[in-house]
């Protein structure tokens, strides 16, 4: 049954709300997870104080538990005793963080270029969020509205916003607009440290765009498509022509995954490539002069591009909506529920990759500016070019 235009628009709107809502909740949760994961790695506890701390149930006694906050405190204090789940202790922190950013005084430096200063965080944020239009969280319909639902009954609710046939191109194009937000914001601040941070960031993102795109060309060549859904499904489940091609495919996806993730770290300004905001060198880099909501726009942009990078990596290299990574599903046949595409698999892979982002941040030192360029131009670009040639050969052999 084809939806009418109005029905189509309503469903699209609902989908946009769901996807944006998902991203907007995931980002604050990710900041909370970052604090907790890094704290646990560093044998600390991290944020435990918002509830379950200072004014909470003291000495283990659940007093004040009749009020809502008292009950929350009691719950959080209790969580501290449970292994594994104790990581959720202090969870209301992410709300407190958001509230703090919202209520902070919004300072615009006197000598800043006001219009650009205000616009650039928005530019970064819009670029980072628009990307999700082309990312498919589930290949088909997530669910079908039951007949009982008025107006929308019987229509499918898809796991993606659009099924662009140039989806990958769209993602890469929009994502690279984000760097303008950073550069313009740094320039408009009219301050020295942001300027240095902005210059670093511009050079870094522009030069890492090349190996990033080259490494994504591998799945493009192997599948012969730019459509997100088709690429991810075919990368996961294509049955190779013979054994050699199958091994070659798996190997190149395995290597390609690491190369792509490395470039992704650089592209999202994360450790070990977080030069643009290297706090020990440039105070806070490009967003030194930003406060309050404007700062949090940059923050949201960075974290949601982390989600984008993880989504692309898991879609094209880790098997996407299917269970097994690196194209293994093509020659290992899983039956029943485990064999099918599910949003759960996809989300699980995204969350695992996000955890790796945080884990790496806790472990590694940071490259120097010129060394970063060396790694990009002298190491990653030749590497990805070779991969590209091998991928083309595999395609030819298949």
């Amino acid at each position: 049954m084809m939806p009418t235009l109005t029905q189509y628009l309503v469903i699209s709107l609902l989908q946009i709300v769901v996807v944006l809502g998902f991203v907007m909740t995931l980002v604050p949760l990710l900041t909370f997870a970052e604090r907790k994961v890094i704290a646990y790695v560093q044998v600390r506890l991290g944020a435990t104080r918002v509830a379950g701390g200072l004014w909470g149930a003291q000495q283990g006694r659940l007093h004040q538990s009749r009020t809502v906050t008292g009950g929350l405190n009691g719950l959080m204090w209790f969580l501290g005793r449970v292994p594994v789940f104790s990581i959720l202790r202090g969870l209301p922190m992410f709300i407190a963080d958001a509230l703090k950013l919202l209520t902070k005084e919004d300072i615009v430096p006197a000598s800043a270029d006001k219009a650009v200063f205000v616009l650039s965080p928005a530019l970064a944020l819009v670029a980072a969020f628009t990307v999700f239009a082309a990312i498919s969280f589930a290949p088909g319909a997530l669910f079908v509205f039951p007949k009982a639902v008025p107006f929308l009954g019987g229509l499918p609710f898809n796991g993606f916003l659009t099924d662009l046939n140039v989806g990958l191109l769209f993602i890469l194009g929009i994502a690279s607009v984000g760097v303008y937000g950073i550069v313009l914001g740094a320039w408009a601040s009219n301050s020295k440290y942001p300027l240095l941070g902005g210059l670093r960031s511009a050079a870094q993102i522009v030069s890492y765009e090349v190996p990033l795109t080259l490494s994504l060309l591998v799945p493009v060549v192997l599948t012969g498509s730019l459509n997100f859904n088709e690429m991810s499904t075919r990368m996961a489940t294509d049955v190779p022509a013979n054994g050699m091609v199958a091994i070659g495919r798996t190997l190149i996806m395995f290597v390609g995954f690491f190369v792509y993730t490395t470039c992704g770290f650089a592209e999202t300004n994360r450790t070990p490539f977080d030069l643009a905001e290297a706090e020990t060198e440039l105070v806070a880099g490009f967003h030194t002069e930003y406060t309050g909501m404007k700062f949090s726009f940059f923050f949201l942009a960075e974290y949601s591009s982390m989600i984008t990078v993880s989504a692309l990596a898991s879609a094209f290299f880790l098997g996407g909506h299917h269970l097994l990574p690196f194209g293994i599903q093509g020659f290992v046949h899983l039956s029943g529920w485990w064999g099918g595409p599910h949003i759960i698999f996809f989300l699980f892979k995204i969350f695992t990759l996000l955890f790796v982002f945080l884990w790496v941040r806790a472990t590694l030192p940071r490259y120097r500016y010129d060394q970063l360029m060396n790694v990009g131009w002298k190491f990653l670009i030749p590497y990805t070019l070779i991969m590209f040639v091998i991928a083309a050969l595999l395609r030819y052999a298949a």
Binding site: V43, Y367, D370, Q371
Partner: protein, 366 residues
Amino acid sequence: MFKTEEMEINLGPQHPSTHGVLRVKLHLDGETVTRCVPMIGYLHRGVEKICEDKTFFQGQVWTDRTDYVAAISNNLGWVEGVEKLFGITTPRRAHYIRTMLTELNRITSHLLWLGTHALDIGAMTVFLYAFREREEVLSIFEAFCGARLTTTAFRIGGLREDIPPGFEKQVRAFQARFLDCIEEYETLLTENRIWKKRTIGVAPLNAEDAIALGVTGPVLRAAGSSYDIRKAFPYAAYAEMDFDVPTQTAGDTYARYLVRLAEMRQSHRIVNQCLDGLPEGPVMAKLPKVLKSEVNEVYHAIEAPKGELGYYFIGEKGSQSPYRMHIRAPSFINLQALPKMTEGRLLADVIAAIGTLDVVLGEVDR
């Protein structure tokens, strides 16, 4: 229409990685440093002048507050300098306990350096691991003298009190696991390719320049010279200790890192020897009721964690306080090597250089 000029940028006095209130004026051509001028004095309290008004006994509390991460080393320099001035002989047991605490203090100082230096370069976890061990040593200080940082640990002529009960067990518990902890730091850093890239060949200082600039301590030893006052002019109980002076020849940040890690291992060795060979006896010498100095002058240098820490006293006839006191602060003199190490290099190397020099601003400004 277009012109190019060098950018002048102030690194500090409020900057995340200048370790206090150091201000470095940098001239940048792009990211290359063309001129680097350390500017000091933001923490000047006039310790040398204050000590002229205080008795020799009281003056020790100000040494806690110069290099505040190595307070026990400073205390040792002060009390030994004063003992030299008055010709007091300290009991052997006191010497051993002093040596042990000073070496533990060297460990805490190097741990703080390791943590902050790694944090400057971006490895944030080493900081917390280093502080975990540092806390344990600070508890040992607390058990011995009641304070963790501003220790005022020793007295002229010996120690105030003998070691408390349970102290040896506490130290041995720390000693038992400390070598494994150093292994952990090494796992995170020594072989790491990013760490190597950030430190090998960065901020080099050869032995000739280092000696010309008066640089001492691990920075000098990393350049190839094996000058260590503990060996050259033994004080406290170091003459009876068996330890090596670790040296490297490269003179870069990585060499200094290796030297300091090796020094922590040597300190660990010395502490073990002190515990094993701790002699019996009193910890305090018989002192005259009031210390009165004749007119004479004394320079006493010890090997503080940062380098040669010297106390220079001129006594005044009949007075209980020094006529003039001067501290040869290793941080202050090592900091003067910063322009030599960084000019012509990148901004990120300045951060690594400040970290690797291990300056404490309380000692630089005094």
